[in-house]
Symmetry: C2
Subunit: 390 residues, 2 copies
């Protein structure tokens, strides 16, 4: 908030983590009058484009506490903030989403145990603390099943699909040093996610479900999805239970598998989420703006869909903006990050007045991009058909 009026009391917002999520948060927050102080170990952290960078390691609890002392509210842009760092900041200033939610989402086993306690459907899982547990899990689930590290996994990292006994040894070599969890393989019809927000005053907002496609563990396509059946209602019921449990403030993302018209939770992220990026261009209020409104005590904006939207994730390197920006309805988001294989460096959202036009334009974009894109688009369209039929 500027000095130009009575306004709301929050002016400075601290963010732990200076990646693209913090960058888009700051871009949404500057017009609200906020100043951003962003803690990140990297000198060139991309959120620095719209905030002041404070260079410190994420394990530097003192630096986090010092920053907390300079801001009115603190948040984070990734869920692997060490507990001591989050705790040090939360001890000094209003910290959202709460440390309890952050903790719960850092360990896949704790997360799944919590979901189960809350009566929220999750695929069958099995704690793996040694080879015996792994054999038990395989015995219980059969092949294929999935072995994952409990902590620090993202974008498909720290995971192995076990397709048969021959994969066991290799997976164990790769992951066996960490606490693990085995999960039954879900032959889902589609993947989707709910982006939800809760304000300080307890009001909630839910964007229309995102329909998502992952490729090699990374999100590649997301769209605002008016799902058939009662999927939206199922998702909002689950979202509400989580929000109430945590007395949550801010944006939360819940990723689902859809099987035979039923949702089960894959994972929770206590933050703004890649599958909600289409809300910048396609919703009345973006997930980033509403996250900031929520944590700063402002009223929430509408989470309604403005126009049908599809997001393409740019992974590894940016495509040529000069080639693509001429496409009608294309909105560009370059994160200002150096190219690197497997790194999320940007996205684009296609927004058009009607679904049919949008589908055609997205197909044309996929064709133009070439490579894996036409196949991804085709799989995505097929899954959308299954989702709409539910």
């Amino acid at each position: 908030m500027s000095d130009s009026g009575p306004g709301h009391p929050v002016r400075r917002i601290g963010i732990l983590g200076g990646g693209q999520l913090a960058r888009m948060m700051a871009l949404a927050g500057v017009p609200l009058g906020f100043h951003f102080d962003i803690l990140d170990p990297a000198e060139d952290a991309c959120a620095g484009a719209a905030g002041r960078l404070v260079r410190a390691g994420f394990d530097d609890a003192d630096a986090a506490a010092e920053l907390a002392g300079q801001v009115d509210v603190m948040t984070y842009d990734f869920e692997n903030v060490p507990a001591t760092t989050a705790g040090a900041a939360a001890g000094r200033v209003s910290f959202h989403p709460c440390v309890t939610a952050l903790d719960a989402c850092q360990d896949r086993l704790a997360e799944k145990n919590l979901l189960t306690r809350l009566g929220i459907p999750v695929p069958p899982f099995h704690a793996v603390d040694g080879r015996t547990d792994l054999l038990e899990a395989v015995d219980r689930f059969g092949y294929p099943c999935v072995l994952k590290t409990r902590r620090f996994g993202y974008d498909g990292k720290g995971q192995a699909v076990l397709r048969g006994p021959e994969d066991l040894e290799h997976a164990w070599q790769e992951l066996g040093d960490h606490p693990l969890i085995a999960e039954a393989f879900v032959a889902f019809d589609a993947e989707c996610s709910l982006i939800a927000v809760r304000a300080r005053d307890g009001r909630t907002g839910f964007w229309p479900l995102s329909h998502n496609l992952h490729d090699a563990g990374m999100l590649v396509l997301s769209e605002a999805c008016i799902a058939g059946g009662d999927l939206q209602a199922q998702a909002e019921d689950i979202g509400n239970r989580l929000i109430e449990h945590f007395d949550y403030v801010g944006v939360i993302a819940v990723e689902f598998f859809v099987t035979d018209g039923r949702l089960s939770v894959n994972e929770i992220a206590p933050r703004v989420h890649n599958s909600g990026h289409w809300t910048i261009d396609g919703a009345v209020t973006s997930q980033f703006e509403n996250h900031l409104r929520a944590i700063s005590g402002l009223p929430l904006g509408s989470t309604a869909l403005d126009r049908p939207s599809v997001m393409f994730n740019w992974i590894g390197a940016m495509p040529d903006a000069g080639e693509l920006l001429g496409l009608e309805g294309l909105h560009w988001h370059d994160y200002g990050k150096k190219a690197r294989p497997g790194r999320k460096v940007g996205h684009a959202t296609l927004v058009l007045p009607d679904e049919q036009q949008l589908g055609k334009q997205a197909q044309a974009l996929a064709a133009r991009l070439g490579g894996a894109w036409p196949d991804r688009w085709s799989r995505f369209s097929t899954a959308r058909g299954r989702l709409a039929g539910d």
Copy 2:
């Protein structure tokens, strides 16, 4: 542009002036991958929220030239950049809009002479270099008429309305030290403006006309306006003539009086414009994004209206965001500037799916703001009626 792909060649953009126009330009440009270097004498220039500030006076041609040497293209956010400064920058790097356009718009007399030469209607005007000229002008136009400084006027500054012979002496005392221009008083039906853009490749784009209301010389309300009759066509014809004359690149704004269904030009601004701020939330592509696309050689985005939009200008101090952000369809733009009487410190745009809803919501907002707002809204609505009838 980031280092993450082939992309477009422009990466760093220099801006002369770090006010709210530069701030909104930078906020629109960061997602396109641009970095901004912004020259301004003020330590706390509000564009610093999304770019690197270079502190220097606008008359410091050396600083401008040095900055020009560090960027790929240069632009400005106000038209009173001294010619020597603009020239120094333009001598080193691609500079848009061109210095010729900047020059032409710095002097009201030169501007009106040019418009006349181009066959573009302007209200009658008379150069005033001494008392004799002033008496001639009054004799020619009668009362009321308007006396303005030729240079450095903005937001109604440097102007006096002469309502009768008794105003002559006071106006002369106030303005007589400067080169002046007298203009016939235009009893207009409505005020509107055209925001136009031309890309490097010569392609042009025109947003729907903005319908505007000024109060005490300052813009207070603006709306995307689907004008009746051929007003849009008249405006685009005028815009095209100017764009062609200057071989213009970037966004240009032309302010009009509307009288009996005919346009005459009040003034030109060779830059993004306050009356185009509704395009951030209400058009497919904003004036800020298209200005950057134009000057950096990227394809233009669509200038189509996305949703009916009305902009409220916040002058002097920001209203309370906590009070107003709950209004459906309200988008907030706090410029991060200190409160000061007569200073533009922010704006809000109401965007709703249909005209009728929007009108009701805008009226409700005006009522809630109180003060001069209900009367402004009423005058604005009346003028809109006249505009639609044309």
